[in-house]
Symmetry: C2
Subunit: 422 residues, 2 copies
């Protein structure tokens, strides 16, 4: 039994098969790199990744040695000053970009603001930003902030992602989409949509928050202009980890971004009164590098950088495929509705279902140490981080869910009351 | 011998006196809270504060227990979700504000952008921002970014701080000044300048980066409108720590800031497409809280919150006063020139000198484990963090400096070559 494409619906699977899949898994050893409780099934790496064991020792070193002993000297002696570029270069390998096109900075939201503002500045005669309704909220909120504050007329067009290409026109400055949708797990065709944007002279920005470390990425190959991504999901960078951004080399010289803080200066420590943007990707930095957060992120990125993207994708597809298959009887019996595409080419690394009692059901699962999450109004999300999720976890999760749904003691009204579901 | 005002120039002091001062110092016990090497004299807390011992255990707990074990659940179970407000409320006590007026977020630079943009939006018919040349560079750079990107006509007027009040007029939207100057250590009169801004209907924003934890602050009493500050200097929050910002209660309802990310939403986890700003200070948040950095900051803030502001100020003034006094003979003999005010009421907690060989001299001091810093083109800065700097450090620093200057083996040309000073 091999994973991925061989998981056809007509095949019967049992618990032993999942143990076998784990035995054959070329990525199985990576789970050892993470500090995961044995009794926990963690299917929420799409929201907050787990703790790499190496992060514990690395953070103790950064705190005690670099900060405590090195103090101000560590900006040079421990290369704090180039942390954003160093981790950016490692990320470049993961997202299919050149080292000099990627940097670690601020939060995803702040980076979205920088690059969206920079994009409309690069297309000053155009007035439209095209995105999708139901995009990750902060993307929409930030685009709205750009619209409200930036000194150019901007109209934000929201159309379903499958219609986006039809709505890109000669007046479109920027198309801004999330590559893998945070709710449905639908993965968009980066190459095709980017080409459609370029055909009309628009710039393309991708939010890679739910893609990076989950699916193979090839930004250069797709000719993407701009991208942002999150450090604390599949990259396992720690809660509220610094984010990253990408600017295609061809835009680096002309790009101007509004958050022109001292770390984006060509020579910050000259302390001159006049801002002169750094020539390269450093121009997108703003304030002082968050050394603690960035150091934790680097540990997660280092692990991810070792992983073969095809093996990652194979396992991700196998996990999601088997999970959907195991869930099929529950869909039929208990009314779960799959919202994630069955078609592999447009699926990320999560599987989501709607259920009217979704919140209460997820609470019941979490009470059994099986952690997925719930997104209003009715979506249960299960994220499958290929670095540490096991095949047997799929079996155990669905069996637990089946028991919850079947168990007479699981009283919907009681759950609704207990969990204050109104 | 009592510290502070009693340090008159005519009094002779010797090494024993400094030991005595340490014995009498009511803040002396606080040094034990920090992980400082015995052989180090650290006079750079104005640039990067030292490691609180409690930060080591706290960070291990946050990393292993809250992130590693709690995982996504810790947003609720460990109150990550309210970290920015919780630390903000603690900071409020330190800066003389109401709890609900202060929040921890992003970097100082990013916060400057938010509040400067918000300020010009609050004064839409006015076109001037008044600041000073030689202000901390990122303040000037960010104001420039606001000018270049925000959809209102903005002119940035830079005038020396002592002339600022004359240049505020009916067309001034915002006056933006650093309370304690990063180079000279000059402290401005917050109350007087704020009143001058208000007299013309302008808003007043203070950068407290070199003040917070160094001098007593009373934002509410001074009627300040807006403020930003740094977490990694006198607050000892760790390298690149999250920063904070203050918005006076009277402006909270009307304030709109451009970085409208999901953490600034009235109900972030409703995940709605439309942005609705949180009603209070939370509206100034943008992306996901940097939990690791914020948790380290909280340890530093907790220590500072215990300190009596008057004792802090007394010790700070005594340290700076004695240091200047010990340096007087070196100024006469070796050409150091004091740039910090002798007048106590306008002095922060650092003392700076110019010297043409400033860079090489500071390198020589650092080689002896006495750490101050150098700012181009010729300024030696010595920061006196009252929580851990000892009086005997003053004596030992000046003695070491005297030896460096006197020592025939200290060859300026050699130092210039070695340190690549051109």
């Amino acid at each position: 039994m091999t994973p991925s494409t061989s998981a056809s619906p007509e095949m019967t699977v049992n618990q032993t098969d999942f143990h076998d899949l784990d035995k054959q898994d070329p990525l199985a050893h990576l789970r050892e790199e993470f500090d995961l409780a044995q009794d926990l099934i963690y299917l929420n790496g799409n929201s907050l990744g787990v703790l790499p064991k190496a992060a514990k020792t690395r953070m103790a070193e950064v705190i005690e040695k670099e900060w405590g002993q090195g103090l101000i000297r560590s900006w040079n002696t421990h290369n704090w000053i180039t942390l954003p570029q160093r981790i950016g270069a490692k990320l470049a390998g993961i997202i299919g970009a050149q080292d000099k096109e990627v940097i670690v900075a601020d939060s995803t939201s702040v980076n979205l603001f920088k690059l969206a503002a920079a994009a409309v500045r690069l297309r000053p005669k155009r007035t439209k930003i095209v995105t999708e309704p139901g995009n990750f909220p902060t993307d929409l909120y930030i685009l709205n902030g750009v619209k409200n504050f930036i000194g150019q007329e901007i109209e934000i067009i929201t159309v379903p992602s499958h219609e986006v290409m039809q709505h890109i026109d000669e007046n479109t400055a920027l198309v801004c989409l999330t590559h893998v949708h945070y709710k449905s797990g639908t993965m968009l065709n980066m190459k095709e949509i980017t080409a459609a944007a370029h055909a009309k002279g628009a710039l393309m920005m991708w939010d890679l928050s739910h893609s990076t470390g989950a699916v193979p990425l090839a930004l250069n190959e797709a000719n993407a202009d701009l991208a942002v991504g999150c450090g604390y999901k599949y990259l396992n960078g720690g809660p509220g980890s610094p984010a990253f951004l990408y600017v295609a080399e061809k835009h680096l010289a002309a790009l101007e971004q509004p958050l022109s803080g001292w770390f984006g200066h060509a020579n910050a420590f000259a302390m001159s009164d006049d801002f002169e943007a750094a020539p390269g990707i450093e121009k997108t930095l703003c304030g002082t590098t968050p050394v603690l957060g960035a150091s934790a992120l680097e540990v997660g990125v280092d692990i991810m950088a070792k992983v073969d993207p095809q093996q990652l994708r194979d396992k991700s597809l196998a996990l999601t495929e088997y999970f959907m298959r195991l869930m099929e009887p529950l869909c039929e019996t208990y009314g779960f509705e799959l919202v994630t595409p069955k078609e592999q080419s447009i699926r990320g690394s999560q599987v989501s279902y709607t259920h009217p009692e979704g919140y209460a059901i997820m609470q019941a699962l979490i009470a059994q140490n099986i952690i997925g999450d719930f997104r209003a109004p009715n979506i249960l999300r299960f994220g499958f981080a290929p670095l540490y999720v096991q095949y047997i976890d799929l079996w155990n999760t669905v069996k637990a869910l089946e028991t919850i749904m079947r168990d007479a003691s699981w009283d919907q009204a009681q759950f609704r009351a207990k969990n204050k579901v109104t």
